[in-house]
Symmetry: D2
Subunit: 341 residues, 4 copies
């Protein structure tokens, strides 16, 4: 940490900060500048709370030097993590291939899901998304089929070989979802539901972790760290749009996070252009953009009859659009020496 | 809902929208304007998904007319809800008095908590805050004392008569916390943890619901609606700052929500100036502002030794500052014909 | 500046940064930590561009230590600046009194303005606001009366003694506006129109500088610094709401800026609750909140017939509401040992 | 406009709104729903101020139906606008080719600019960017060479055939800049400097209009409308990043605006990945993403010695990086049936 003292801070105030730094198990290094004194606190300050110092008399500001995450950091592990998705198709996320995960927002019934599953497979997907437990803003909205939905997802996997990616919303659902899913999805609203992060961290199946609506990149990686710190290193980060002042789209999709994650972390990152924009007509272009800037995969909402979808119809593309898109994505991927799986 | 058709939408497209509206159990009312056609969908559209219509050919935009919450709405219940806090001091939130809830961020040990409890009572508080389960951004940070912390809180209540407000972080903690707490706190990271909302909705103790970091007012009231829809009407809303581009403060405290909640809802709203600013030196002024614009209470972090607090020292004021502040708040409250409890 | 080197940065990279620091006229201080090297660059780095260092090989991050403004800083001038407004009523902003500036959004015609001017004076205002040049989002909207509007404002001053606060939108309007106004208003859209800031900086009349819609506090003070650096120290800062994700209000009013400005700057700060909320029904409560947290004044839109106002009717309160509000504000002001002028 | 009345609004209140609607020259259409009354106001409401209605008794909300811009709208002009850039190379923006505009942030001296100009031409650019007048956040920072810089730009054009794109900061600079520039750049801080928009609207050279840091898409198009309404239809929109809570990048680059602009407007849109991210290491990937989602061009900061650049070194790429990038962009462009000019 770097402690910036206020102009005119007294020698006693500097001494007091030094005492606090030593109490934290760190070493101080005092630099007397022309206008103010700066004190560097040396040692591993990751778990140290800069709060303690901020309030001390004569302190103007405290700036951390070390990023607070370790296991998610590229400094600790240079080679990129490749996560195997499961399913007999054998897809993975994080290598040279770009993974395509597609399916409806919600599992609505057996016929709907099986039809869509076969269609997304044909379009080139290696994993099927679909919610059995649905977090909905309103308590009066459709909340998902629950276990029945999970059974249908498993049947779709048996028929198609697609890996199943589905959301788990709370600790007590983990064992049940674990019976059916290949990949746990932790939704945007639960990115900082730490008990849930720990619970999936104790499982031995991959976790697709969606970024919180207003989570900083550091908070996002710390949420991954919660999972990894319990022994599960198979974390797939997912950018799904952030909340800003913009109104033409449901969320703002900040794609620069893709190359930045690749720079500072070894974890793979996929992009959700459906949640990320909220409008089906924006999905193909933003999918292309995501692949072009290096995304390790896409997770796309796809429905054969969007107008009658129980949830998120406005942002679901049809299987035909998905098929056309997949061909286009293959060309983009080749332009950067990758390929769509 | 109001469906705005694109310029040049065909008669067939209008007919198709009308069909979709009827399928939703609503009635249509078609208005042909000079530049475009607008279709009003009449009936209770609260639980209807405007998504279905947005994607239909020829539709430009769909605007909901009804707010999606009911039980939290002032249209349904005109008189203001008053929530009794518990504790032998008999405080409440939502009437003419302004409630003062204070205490440390975390319960750290018995001595610390009892000392602070007596001091905040002396300053005029009727309820004690203090976390036994702490949601922390980093997995390496202090996570709270757990049940031991709850026991200490209960002892403080026995000694002081203060009601105990403490956070519950997951469904499985609800029965345990219910044994000790007078008021469940649902934290900002869990505002849309719907399973947790339902679980506390089934309890018969008040819930202090903190606004999510980037939750809209509508989402905030819908989270309250989740709790109320399970039979627990004693919801206290808590504004604790939102995430914006500002950096001089930890969060941006948007106080206009106080009079707006009073206009559209019957639920009481309290303000957390500690989380809402992140800096102890901003807490007194923002507490005064909150009372001046009508807040039904304040929840303030208070620590007798902020430099050694295990969490949130930078935003904790001392008991002496709290005492001085309480006197100042009394004057502000009187200026608007209220009083601090 | 503090330069944080990446883990594993080479000695050559550190040397290169040292060379760059010396080229900038600063001195280096190298601190070798356990995980990485940190280099402090000592000397006045206000006008130095940290950009140069950020791109150097092996550099992870550069953190400035000194705030880039000087003349606006409290470190340079301890006593608070009091700005005299002009007008025969002799009001000022920045002392113990809280100034009330009120009037219509736009000058619409002579009758309207004179009527409102007399009414706001009666309510207790010492200055009259009113736009003759109006920045409008749409080119098709009413753009103000121009010089005719300025003449009417001057007549209102002659009749009432109120100081005239009115907007200047571009450099070439400065001499004209200077003939009529007591205080130049620089609008939120022009907060970083540097040529305009310089132009009013060369005048010898106060400037009311509105915060840009997404300006940080540092950028806001640097805009003031532009004006002050040309010799005009009479700057009144004005918080008028920022752009966030919130939708129930036109802007989000972040009042914590008031005590923070008082901590780091000697300049007075007033609050605009009309622009700051966009709704007349929120204006009284937010005015009270602003005074309670220490605002040096309020600038309020007031119209005798809001439904027929040419601009901003939705956020204009009536003269009667203003009068009632002024009495309430007096009580709030007294609670913090101030008074409304 | 659609006026939503509050529940329980009286017949008199509805009548009053009808009167106001008629006064505005619009026709009313009253729809009595199950829970509340909705009134559609028919006719061209673009220039009408919904403010008037929002404040009327019994009104809950007013929702505009028509977008307020006309000339920038695709409804008015179906074919896409192609803007010729000038310069003997004959580049344009808005057709099937993707334009490459590159150069230093600032013109620093003759040697620097000429060297870079030749290099960006060799890399494939058709236009040269470079600031002679620089808007700087701090008054103590380098403000540009002024007319001397313009002369150097003209010399670079003479030597290379590149079109010159350079910023104009105020109305009085327009005639001077017009003598040297091929394309006026209006910077992000001036997007709502309406006098400047009008002044360049009266010129007959293209205008590259940068989006304001927190401008909505509607405000962005209305700024274009200001220019177009004075007779200059050659507007190139430029997305350069918005201000959000994110901190790993200087701005958040929201690329979904590219396909959305193509859907609702006929104007071309280019992307600035340098300002849009603030970090040279993010520029290549975000350039690829921008082209992949359909951007009509890129404007990139390029410097042969970023560490000694007077401005924006941290986000400038070298000519060699630009050259490599241009080849990669060509492959991306071909994948979507376009080509880099």
């Amino acid at each position: 940490m770097i402690v910036v003292m206020a102009m005119g801070a007294t020698a006693g105030q500097v001494d007091h900060v030094v005492t606090l730094i030593r109490e934290m198990g760190l070493r101080e290094h005092v630099i007397v500048g022309t206008e103010r004194t700066v004190i560097a606190a040396l040692g591993d300050d990751r778990a140290k709370d800069k709060d303690k110092l901020e309030n001390a008399p004569g302190v103007e500001r405290v700036m951390p030097v070390l990023a607070p995450y370790k296991m998610a950091s590229r400094e600790v592990k240079k080679e990129r993590t490749v996560v195997r998705l499961g399913g007999s198709l054998g897809g993975s996320v994080g290598g040279n291939s770009v993974a395509l995960i597609a399916g409806p927002c919600s599992v609505e019934n057996r016929t709907q899901l099986l039809e869509i599953a076969h269609q997304v497979k044909e379009a080139g997907a290696t994993a099927l998304r679909g919610g059995a437990f649905k977090p909905r803003t309103s308590p009066y909205a459709f909340q998902g089929l629950g276990e029945k939905g999970l059974e249908i997802l498993a049947e779709a996997r048996a028929q198609t070989g697609l890996a199943v990616v589905t959301e788990v919303m709370s600790v007590e659902q983990v064992p049940l979802v674990a019976q059916y899913a290949d990949v746990f999805q932790v939704g945007t609203r639960n990115m900082q539901n730490y008990n849930l992060l720990w619970a999936v961290g104790e499982q031995r199946k991959p976790v697709l972790l969606k970024r919180g609506l207003s989570a900083t990149l550091e908070e996002f990686l710390l949420a991954a760290e919660y999972i990894m710190s319990r022994g599960n290193g198979d974390v797939i980060l997912c950018e799904r749009g952030i909340r800003t002042f913009e109104t033409y789209c449901r969320n703002t999709l900040p794609l620069a996070i893709v190359p930045e994650v690749h720079r500072i972390s070894h974890l793979p990152i996929v992009v959700d252009p459906s949640q990320g924009t909220g409008h089906a007509h924006l999905v193909p272009d933003m999918s292309r953009a995501a692949v072009a800037c290096g995304a390790d995969g896409l997770i796309i909402e796809c429905h054969h009859d969007p107008e009658h979808a129980l949830t998120d119809g406005a942002q679901s593309i049809t299987p035909q659009t998905l098929k056309d898109l997949a061909q286009s994505l293959q060309l983009i991927a080749k332009a950067i020496d990758r390929n769509v799986q």
